[in-house]
């Protein structure tokens, strides 16, 4: 009987709350709260989770005497504040953001264009697609030494690494987005004699947009990973370099601050894509 009553409480809005008797067998065989599979979310819960994690971290850091091994969130915040005062933070973040933006824009742009070509021309699909797939499987950070040899240790090799890393997922998103556009819609437009270029603009482009934005989301995360890798291997500034040097100096408060900034970067990127999705895909 206990289980039956729990099932009742858990489902205040289901029809079973009214007069149906909920006995043990029923509750055991059919759960009253069924998953809706709707992509809903509670925005506050995200913040609350974040707060709980921070609080737990603070608690553990208090108990753990050694602040070198685990600096508390307050230590990390004060390190962030200190670096902001000296301007280090702005300099490192600025350098990282610059690389990230330039690399992502170039890579995503070229990737999307390549994806368009693959989607539109069978010849491009046959020739370029295997290359794109091969490139996708290579860990791009392994190419950094090659780019350093070719392009020097400066910005160009880092930006290129990011661009190359972003290229494949974006190309794949673009052509598979195009493949997924309902052929019936294209035939419909053709039957109304909509010109081919207008079909591209009015049918294919909006149809592939969801996939393109998913590509942007994934490639944004990849870009951040590559950025840090590149900065740890070969950079004097940037958030990745900050993390590496701070670790080397056992300044774990600054190391954690760098990691926190990277997390914030990832959140910002995904927030931006979310904004674009809400603005462009409100029809879904």
């Amino acid at each position: 009987m206990k289980i039956g009553s729990i099932a009742h409480e858990a489902a205040p809005d289901s029809e079973a709350g009214s007069s149906r008797r909920t006995d043990f067998a029923f509750a055991a065989s059919a759960p009253l709260v069924r998953p809706s599979f709707e992509p809903r979310s509670y925005p506050l819960v995200g913040w609350a989770t974040f707060a709980v994690v921070l609080a737990a971290w603070q608690l553990v850091a208090w108990r753990q005497a050694d602040a070198i091994l685990l600096p508390s969130p307050i230590d990390v915040a004060s390190a962030l504040y200190g670096m902001m005062g000296t301007g280090e933070l702005q300099a490192d973040l600025g350098a990282s953001l610059g690389r990230l933006t330039v690399g992502w824009v170039i890579g995503a742009g070229l990737g999307a264009l390549t994806g368009f070509a693959i989607g539109l021309y069978p010849l491009a699909r046959s020739s370029v697609l295997p290359l794109v797939n091969a490139l996708f499987a290579i860990p791009k950070i392994a190419l950094l030494p090659v780019f350093i040899v070719w392009l020097g240790i400066g910005e160009l090799s880092k930006v290129t690494t990011i661009a190359v890393g972003v290229f494949s997922p974006m190309a794949i998103a673009a052509y598979s987005g195009m493949d997924a556009v309902d052929r019936n819609l294209i035939r419909m437009a053709q039957s109304f004699s909509v010109p081919t270029l207008a079909i591209l603009r009015k049918v294919i482009l909006p149809g592939m947009l969801p996939m393109l934005l998913t590509g942007a989301r994934i490639s944004g995360a990849i870009a951040i990973v590559l950025l840090v890798g590149a900065e740890m291997i070969a950079a004097e500034n940037g958030v990745g370099a900050l993390a590496l040097t701070s670790g080397g100096l056992m300044r774990t408060d600054r190391l954690f601050a760098a990691v926190a900034i990277l997390g914030a970067l990832g959140l910002t990127a995904s927030w931006l894509v979310g904004l674009a999705e809400r603005a462009l895909l409100k029809w879904r």
Partner: protein, 245 residues
Amino acid sequence: MEIVIENLAHAIGDLQIIDRLDITIGSGEIVALLGPSGCGKSTLLRLVAGLERPTSGSITMGRHIRAAIVFQDHTLLPWRTAAGNVELPLEHHPISVAERRERVAAVLEQVGIADFADYYPKALSGGMRQRVNLARALVLEPTLLLMDEPLSSLDEQLREILLDDLARLWSERGFTCLYVTHSPDEAVRLGHRVMILSRRPTKIVEVVPIETPIEERSHFHPAIAAARETVWNLVRESRAPCHGT
């Protein structure tokens, strides 16, 4: 004569879809093409619409024919509102935006969904989506309407209502119409002639003319009930021998 189809044959690869088909359709006539899904009816429509070229034979049409297709379903652009979808065919014609809007509003009114002009297809019911579909075809003021199983995804009550609406629209506008369906009921409600088609390769098995004026027809009209029986029997005799795909 509005449309003359002569000795039409069409094959895709080795598969003969249509074989030596002759149909003559008069101006303002509704010809119902009856046969189960997947036996070449849709291909025939696409050939008449000029979306595909037949393997052999000819389709001759009057000089001033404007054709529009009403598809089965799922051909509305999901990112456009009902009004936006109806506007699509007009966007490539040299008319002002104001006139475009006006014509869209008028045709939405005519098919009875003026109140839902700003809804996205996702928020519309199947019946309303099909009305948008119809409005999109009508907005060009076609003289020839090619309908590809326009009601087959709707439930029976809605179908009944839309059949009446189609009859009304026809009597208001007097378009010529090729109405492809797998439903004998729809065929006898709208067709001046019902052509029963065979299994692939598509041939005409029988033609049933129906004299009752379209505006007077209903599900229970005695002449229509009789015609329905005749058509059903013919379908059964021929074992309307093609299986849905």
